[in-house]
C-alpha cells in the first residue's frame, strides 16, 4: 500500500513539469480569455470595468455577428467539403501504380509549405481583373469579363479557391496514408469476386477510411473556422462584408474598434461553436460505427 502511494507521488512529480507547461500555454490563456470577455475593456475609456454578459448580449444582438455567422458557415462548408473531395480523389489516383507517381505526390504537397499569406497574395494577383494573369488576361481571352474580387459571390468563390489550393495537400496526405493502410488482399479478393471501382470504393475503401476521414474533417473544420490570413490579404472581408467570417470580425472588433472585451466574447463563442461542431462529428461517427 505504502509502495503504491510512493509510486503515485513519483509519477505525479515526473508529470508535474509537463502538466504545468501545458496549463501555462492552454489553461491560462483560456481562463484569461474568459475573464476578458466579461470585462468592459476599450481603448477610449481609461477604466476597465466588470461588464457581466454585456459583451455577449451586444454581440448577439448585432447584425454583423449573424452576418459573419452565415459567411463562416458557407466558407467552412465549401472549403472543407471541396478540399475533402479533391484530396480523396487525388489520393485515390496517386495510390495506384502510375508513372511519375512520386514526383506528382511531391508536387501536390508543395502548397502545404507555402504560407497562407503568400498563397493569398498570389491568388489575389492572379485573379485581379486589373493586372492578374487569370483575371485580366485568360478570362477575357475566353470571353469572360468579370472582377472576381469586386463581386460578392465571386469574391467568396475566390477565397474558397485559394483556401482549397492551400489546404487540399493536407487532406491528400492524410487520405493517402489511410489508403495505404488498407490491406491490398481485400481489393484482390473483391476483384476476383467481380467488384468494379465504385463497388470497391463503396464497400472497402470508404468504410475502412472512415476513421481517417473523420479526423481529417475535424481538423479541417477547425482550421477553416479560424482562417484569417487568406481572406484578409485577398479581400479584407469584402466587398462590403461578403467574405467577413468570424475571424475577420473578431480582428475588426479588437483592433479596429478597440473593444477587447467584445472581441474576447466573440472568441469564446467561436470556441464553444468549434467544440460543439467537433462533438457532433465525433458522436455521429460513433453512432454510424
Amino acid at each position: 500500500m505504502a509502495v503504491g502511494v510512493r509510486q503515485r507521488w513519483e509519477r505525479a512529480t515526473m508529470l508535474a513539469p509537463g502538466l504545468l507547461a501545458l496549463a501555462g500555454v492552454t489553461l491560462f490563456p483560456g481562463i484569461y480569455l474568459l475573464y476578458m470577455s466579461v470585462m468592459g475593456w476599450t481603448a477610449f475609456s481609461p477604466v476597465v470595468r466588470f461588464a457581466g454578459v454585456d459583451n455577449f448580449r451586444t454581440l448577439l444582438r448585432s447584425a454583423s455577428f449573424w452576418e459573419a455567422a452565415g459567411t463562416t458557415l458557407l466558407f467552412v462548408t465549401l472549403s472543407t467539403g471541396l478540399s475533402l473531395l479533391l484530396g480523396l480523389a487525388l489520393a485515390l489516383a496517386l495510390n495506384e501504380d502510375l508513372r511519375g507517381r512520386g514526383a506528382m505526390r511531391t508536387l501536390l504537397t508543395l502548397p502545404l509549405i507555402v504560407p497562407p499569406v503568400v498563397a493569398g497574395f498570389g491568388w489575389k494577383f492572379l485573379l485581379s481583373s486589373d493586372v492578374g494573369v487569370i483575371g485580366a488576361f485568360l478570362l477575357p481571352l475566353a470571353g469572360i469579363r468579370v472582377a472576381p474580387m469586386g463581386d460578392p459571390q465571386l469574391a467568396m468563390a475566390s477565397v474558397v479557391l485559394a483556401d482549397i489550393w492551400s489546404k487540399t495537400s493536407f487532406m491528400f496526405l492524410i487520405t493517402l496514408a489511410g489508403l495505404q493502410a488498407i490491406p491490398p488482399f481485400l481489393y484482390e479478393a473483391a476483384r476476383i469476386d467481380g467488384a468494379g471501382f465504385w463497388a470497391q470504393l463503396r464497400l472497402i475503401t470508404l468504410p475502412l477510411l472512415k476513421g481517417v476521414l473523420i479526423i481529417a474533417v475535424i481538423l479541417r473544420v477547425l482550421d477553416a473556422i479560424n482562417t484569417f490570413d487568406v481572406i484578409f490579404v485577398m479581400t479584407q472581408g469584402g466587398p462590403g462584408t461578403a467574405t467577413a467570417t468570424f475571424s475577420i470580425l473578431g480582428w475588426k472588433i479588437g483592433f479596429t474598434y478597440f473593444d477587447l472585451g467584445q472581441a474576447a466574447a466573440l472568441a469564446v463563442l467561436m470556441m464553444v461553436g468549434a467544440v460543439f461542431a467537433t462533438n457532433v462529428l465525433i458522436r455521429r461517427t460513433r453512432l454510424a460505427g
Binding site: G150, D151, P239, T256
Partner: protein
Amino acid sequence: MASEKPEARETERVQRATAEAGNSKVTRRTFLKVSAGAAGALALSGVPRIAFAQRRKSVRIIAFAQGFAWPELFGSKGTEKTDALRGLEKEVGADIAIEWGDESAVRQKVLADLISRTGRYDVILLGSDGAVQTYGFGGLLEPLDRWMTRSPSPYVSLKDVYPKYLDANRIEGVLYGLPYYSFGPGVMYRRDIFRKYGLTPPRTTDQFESILKTLKENFKKEKIDMFPVTMRGAPGEEPSLDLLGFVYAYAGYAAWFEGGPTTAEAIRRKKAKPIFTGDFRKGFTAFVETLKNYGSPAASTHTWVDMLTLWEQGKAAVMIPSAINAYPARLGSKIEAVRKESRLASSPVGPSGKRIQSFWTFSLGLNRFSKKKEEAWHVLAYLTGKKAMEEFSSRTKFPWVTMKSVLYTKPLIDTWGREELAVWEDAIVQSDPYYFPYFPELNEFMDKIGTAASRAIAGAKVADVLNDLQTWGYERMYRGGYYR
C-alpha cells in the same frame, strides 16, 4: 607496509582510493566559503558598478515604412546604426531602438501596449484618422504642449509646421501627436490624355463628372485599356478618408450628426442623432457612383496599393482625392508618360462651395505609460523635426513634408517644380482637418462607413446600405451614452 596477499592488496587499494576521493570532495562548507570569497572580491573590484552604469536607458520607437522613414538614422534598410543615430543617442542620453512592421501589425502592437498600460514603446505611431482621437480621449497619450514648454527641443518648432497638420492632431485643443509625412487632397491627372481630348483639370464636381464621361466614351471608342478614374473602395476604414471628403464637399460640413457637431462634447450636449440617410447621402452617393461608373470593376476591394499600381501601369487617367498615392509611381513607373505627364491639380469644389477633402498625417506620439518620457520626448522631437523632414525630402523626393521651410527646398523644386509645390501647399492650407468629427468611436464609424461604401460599390442599393448604417450608428451612439 603492504600486505602480501592479492585480496588484501586489492582491499587496501580500494580503501586508499576511497579516502582520496573523500578528501577531494567539495563539501558544503568549502562551497560556501569559496562563494562568499568570490562575491566579496567581485563587490570590491567595482565590476557591478561598471555594469550598472553601462545599463543606459533605452527609448523604443514603433513605426512602419521601414527603410523609407528616417533613413539618416536607421539606414536604407532600417536596421543600421548610423553615425547620426549614435550622435542623437549621445545628445538624448539614451539608446534608441526602433521596431518596424507592416502598418496594421504596428497599429495592433500600439493598441496592445497602450491598452495593457505596459509602456513597452515610448514613441508610438498614431495617425490622424482615428488613433489620435481614440487614444487621446482614452487618456493613453501624453499631452505634448506641456513638453514643448517644459523641455523645449532644438529640433522642432511648431511655428514652422503647417497649422492644419497640427490641428489634425489636437483633441479639444490639446496636442497629442506631431506629424511626420502628411498630405492634403488633390487631383492627379494625365496631362497627355487630357490634352488629347481637349480637357482641363476640373474645378467643380460637375466638371469632374463631365470629364470622366468624356474619358470613358473615348476609351471605349478607341479601345484603350484604361479606367477614367482610380479611387479606393475596400471594406474598412481606408476609403472613408476620401469618401468623407465627398460628403463634406456636397453637404458643406461634416454631415454625420444633426447640426454638424465635430466634437464628442458637442454631440453629447446637442444629443445630435446620425444623419446618414440625410445630408450625408449626396456625397456618399457621388463617391459610390463615380467608382461604379468610371472606376475599376474591382474597386470595391481596392486600397491605396491598388491605386498606386493602376497609376504605375498607366491604367488610370485621374486619381482623386488622395493624389499622394501617385507619387511613388511618378518616380518609379516604367511607362514614360506616367513619369513625365502626371500632374497635380487642386481638388474640385462641390455644390456647397467646399472642396473635396482627403487629409491625413502620419503622426507620432508619446506613450502615457513610458518610463523615459523626457528622453522619449527629445527623440520624438527629432523624428518629427526639421532635420528629419529635410532628410526625408532629399532622399525620397516626395513633397509630403510638414514644413514650409522644407517644402520649397532644392530637392523638391528640382523634382516637381515650384508650380506643383504651390498646388500641393494650397491643398494643405485650404484643408479642413475637421471634415469628419473627432470623437472616441471614430475608428469604428470609419470602418462601418468604408465597409458600407464597399458594399454599395459592389452592387448593393445605396438606400439599403445607408439605412443599415443609420440604424447601426444610432444604436452605437446610444450604447456610447451620448443620448442619456
